[in-house]
């Protein structure tokens, strides 16, 4: 077996040093009833590298890769071009095969990269501080609600209708066990979200609003932030498309107290939903309520600047049941990919990328809205917008997939049995889409709807 370096001679010699007669003697504590005499039946034996690559390659080829077809899916995961150097950097063995930086003297590479990451996330979100990543956007969203409960000592969270339904589902799952009360309505296919009608009161811990929202709509959060603060509640903004913040105001600028989101667009890729990279930022005054790892600056015994994991008295390995969260392993390699990609972009590149996405989306929205039976729901959007089709969108999406066009996300998949909304099709357009892609989608959609 190519990954196991011990020879049989090594094994015999080592057993002699240990003073054990056999390998079985080392497993003497296992109760008789639980000992397996030989290998588990019904499973194949070891295989060569060539053979494994062949088996998995065959499975990979059964999937339609986004890069091979006109592709317009978004709703929480976006396809962007990732520079080749990003993957090179994260495949450096020193990053790829290191552990959580518990010994900072020999982990400055990871720690400094995380400090850069935290700085970039905080600035992108318009916040004071950020942590060193969460699992993904949906789990970061629940952690933000739990953090708001700790800060306000209130247990009712209002989720705006534009919040990603999977994020809502995750929060509902957790709230069922923690006793938090969640209020949420499904969205309607309208140009405006329901932000003005959210019933904020003296029991509200937080309002959770997605920006841009699940339909791609963009709303000014300033007024909502003021209403939250007047009632002693926090405003949590959720950003599933970080590239948008190269074009539109940061939630922190508009008064959001906690900003969380999915980082996947930058550096990570689609990956069928994971691993992704949860981003989490807040105000300086709430830093001791943050979940997860934090890299902080300090000095070494010679006075040289260095970085360590800090404020760990919030964390499970010190505080155990009193920790702010149970999170341990998070998403550091994805955070490194994010930070390397963001460093390549810089502010100039990010703004160019954002404007390119927006311009392509505007052109595509106008083209698609000209199709009979199609109307554009949004007044405002970044790189993702919702179309109302004259018929239910799910079968349309399936038919187009048979023609090898991945047209977008039908809202019926996300909001089953919800009547009207099943006519909604959410289309994302990024720098990876060509005009030919848009044309292919438009003409195919026109035929299917005719």
């Amino acid at each position: 077996m190519r990954y196991l370096p011990l020879s049989d001679a090594d094994r015999s010699e080592m057993l002699r040093v240990i003073g054990a007669g056999s390998i079985d003697a080392l497993f003497a504590d296992v109760p008789e009833a639980a000992r397996l005499g030989g290998k588990i039946e019904g499973l194949p034996d070891h295989a060569s590298e060539l053979s494994v690559e062949r088996q998995l390659g065959a499975l990979a080829r059964q999937n339609v890769a986004a890069g091979d077809v006109p592709f317009f899916l978004g709703c929480g995961a976006y396809r962007h071009h990732i520079p080749a150097s990003v993957d090179h950097i994260i495949q450096r063995g020193e990053f790829l095969t290191s552990y959580t930086p518990y010994q900072p003297e020999i982990a400055q590479g990871t720690l400094q990269a995380l400090f850069e990451f935290q700085t970039q996330v905080a600035r992108l979100y318009g916040c004071d501080v950020a942590n060193a990543s969460m699992y993904d956007g949906s789990t970061a969203c629940w952690e933000a609600i739990a953090m708001a409960r700790r800060i306000t000592r209130r247990g009712k969270a209002l989720l705006s209708s534009g919040l990603h339904p999977h994020y809502v589902s995750v929060a509902k799952t957790m709230a069922r066990f923690t006793g938090d009360v969640l209020e949420h309505r499904a969205p309607t296919l309208t140009a405006e979200a329901d932000l003005d009608t959210l019933p904020i009161d003296a029991e509200t811990s937080c309002v959770v609003v997605q920006y841009p929202d699940i339909l791609g709509r963009i709303a000014d959060l300033s007024g909502l932030a003021e209403r939250c603060h007047a009632a002693g509640a926090l405003l949590i903004a959720v950003v599933t498309e970080p590239v948008a913040l190269g074009a539109i105001k940061a939630p922190g600028e508009m008064g959001a107290d906690i900003v969380v989101g999915e980082g996947q667009s930058i550096g990570v890729g689609l990956q069928f939903g994971g691993p992704y990279c949860g981003l989490f930022a807040t105000r300086e005054k709430y830093v001791r309520q943050l979940p997860g790892r934090l890299a902080g600056e300090t000095v070494d015994a010679e006075g040289k600047r260095g970085f360590v994991l800090t404020l760990s008295t919030r964390e499970q390995h010190i505080r155990r049941e009193k920790a702010t969260s149970n999170i341990c392993t998070s998403s550091v390699l994805c955070a490194l990919a994010w930070t390397a990609h963001m460093t390549l972009l810089g502010e100039k590149g990010l703004r160019q990328l954002a404007m390119l996405n927006h311009a392509k989306a505007v052109a595509a929205a106008d083209r698609l809205a000209r199709i009979p039976g199609v109307t554009l729901v949004n007044d405002s959007f970044f790189n993702e917008f919702t179309l109302r089709l004259s018929q239910e969108a799910r079968p349309v999406v399936r038919t187009l997939a048979e023609r090898r066009i991945l047209a977008g996300v039908s809202l019926g998949r996300l909001y089953p049995d919800d009547g009207e909304i099943e006519h909604g099709l959410v289309v994302a357009v990024t720098e990876t889409n060509t005009q030919e892609d848009v044309e292919a989608l438009a003409s195919a959609l026109e035929e299917v709807l005719a």
Partner: protein, 521 residues
């Protein structure tokens, strides 16, 4: 002189006295590197874009005018920046990484290659299911391996890491208890447990109570039985436990918990010790997470991503989270919110957006297929052999608190008993850094004073173990002699000891430009 197994000897006497400074602060290949914010600026970019077509903006009047403050670098500068940073990291690719409880084994590069196949890496989680049948087939195949290797009934693939898996297990337990109208309040956790166990129990809304350990480093079964009652929802047990020992009474413990209507959660962080030799299902366990980034070698990446699938007993299977993949004929379907009602109406719900850590599934399946049933059994045997070899090569010098009670499993535990002067476990660990090794896990488990937990894993050769043992014997002798110079270690690492108190007292968590930092003072 330190021992040097590679045969190299210095040709000149070692320099003594003060280190000669350099103008750059670099020391040959040990290179200093500023922050990206100190070398980049907002007008530089390392990516070229086509010009955006002109058109009206539909941003709802929310255009971002204020500077964001994101520093950019050209591509060569970016590659060099992160390459230079990478060289300040220790990694498995450089040497043994013997962190107990962390299972830092070799990460095969084949796994990286297959995870990057476009058919896996470039597919969207909400694509129509007929366009991702291969992805579902992979998830299903990996799930079947995990079920068979553990002897359990079903598996939930979506948890994102070990602690998320613990949460998944406890939520299923809670849902099962609530379904029979038997809400309970308490989770029992051994003192030696990972910190995530009590944190997860609290996160799931439970009260945590500790169970003591015996002198032999095992769960005190009598104390556990005495505490069991109608308020106990579950016990969370790590097996093999964090002292590196198998819990020989596990079957009895499970029976006792079940008798009072409770359930048994097993922290599977140490599954590497028993994979292919023991099936947790045969021990009476109801739920266990499996860290794919430990036992199945998906790379740890400096702190994730991980992946924590949870295997369930038949009793808990109906309560497993959404979504999951099912096979209908030769087609795979996804069970999620919309179609769960009929057959899976008791599921406790969704834990994360989408399907879990696909990128880790591909790597783990690649690892599993490479090893096969025979190779995985060999993994456990070699992991346990290596740990016992370390234990017996050091227990004449270092105190092994449970060394007399028989062989260890995949990790060897030592204490600081017998260290001279005020030398601590921390000092010994830092001296190992100077020897070119990542230290073992320190001060964990909490039940042993100055604990040092060494997990070599099966991917270390005997020669590597001998060199590590030699280095550890050398520093252990110095520790026992009370050698005060250990207090200064490390002296050869990119940084000397870092001031963690300062970092926590005055947290600096983001970079501020000098003028900004001054203004804030």
């Amino acid at each position: 002189m330190t021992i040097n197994q590679s045969g190299w000897r210095p040709t000149a006497p070692e320099a003594s006295g003060e280190e000669i400074g350099t103008w750059t602060g670099n020391r040959a290949l040990m290179l200093e590197e500023p922050l990206s914010f100190e070398i980049g600026d907002t007008q530089t970019t390392g990516v070229d874009f086509a010009a955006a077509p002109n058109g009206e903006s539909r941003l709802g009047g929310l255009d971002r005018h204020r500077d964001i403050g994101l520093a950019g670098l050209s591509e060569p500068e970016t590659v060099r920046h992160y390459t230079r940073l990478s060289r300040q990291n220790y990694a498995i690719d450089l040497g043994i990484f013997p962190l107990g409880s962390c299972t830092m084994k070799h990460n095969p590069r084949l796994n990286e290659k297959v995870a990057r196949m476009p058919g896996f890496a470039d597919i969207h989680p909400l694509q129509p299911i007929d366009t991702v049948q291969g992805a579902f087939a992979l998830i299903h195949q990996l799930g079947e391996w995990l079920v068979k290797l553990t002897g359990m009934h079903s598996v939930a693939m979506s948890p994102k890491a070990g602690a998320h898996g613990e949460l998944c297990g406890l939520l299923a337990i809670r849902a099962a208890l609530e379904a029979r109208g038997d809400a309970r309040e308490v989770i029992l956790v051994p003192e030696s447990a990972h910190g995530t166990n009590p944190a997860t129990a609290a996160f799931a809304g439970y009260r945590v109570e500790n169970i003591p350990a015996t002198e032999a480093g095992r769960v005190d079964v009598a104390a556990l039985k005495a505490r069991l009652g109608p308020d106990v929802a579950a016990v969370m047990i790590t097996n093999p436990n964090t002292c590196g020992l198998f819990e020989p009474d596990m079957i009895e413990i499970s029976r006792a918990v079940h008798e009072v209507g409770g359930l048994v959660y097993c922290d599977g962080a140490n599954f590497n010790a028993i994979v292919g030799r023991v099936r947790p299902g045969d021990l009476g366990i109801d739920a266990m997470h499996i860290n794919l980034h430990k036992t199945f070698s998906t790379p740890h990446g400096g702190g994730g991503p991980g992946s924590g699938p949870v295997v369930f007993s038949e009793a808990l299977t109906p309560f497993a989270p959404l979504p999951f993949v099912e096979k209908e004929g030769d087609r795979y379907v996804l069970v999620e919110e919309e179609n769960a009602e009929a057959e899976h109406g008791r599921s406790f719900g969704r834990m994360t957006a989408f399907h879990g850590q696909m990128g880790m599934f591909t790597r783990a399946l690649s690892y599993i297929l490479s090893h096969g049933a025979d190779g995985l059994r060999q993994v456990a045997e070699d992991a346990v052999l290596n740990a016992n070899y370390v234990l017996r090569s050091l227990d004449d010098l270092l105190d092994a608190p449970f060394g007399d009670s028989g062989p260890c499993m995949h990790e060897a535990l030592f204490s600081d008993r017998g260290f001279g002067g005020d030398i601590s476990t921390l000092d010994l660990a830092k001296a190992l850094i100077d020897e070119g090794f990542h230290p073992m896990t320190m001060y964990f488990p909490l039940v042993v004073h100055g604990a040092m937990l060494v997990e070599p894993t099966e991917t270390e050769s005997k020669a590597t173990l001998d060199q590590f043992i030699g280095a550890l014997r050398s520093v252990a002798k110095r520790a026992k002699a009370g050698d005060a110079s250990l207090k200064a270690a490390p002296i050869h690492a990119p940084r000397r000891r870092l001031d963690e108190t300062l970092a926590a007292r005055k947290p600096v968590l983001v970079y501020k430009e000098p003028e900004q930092a001054e203004a804030a003072e």
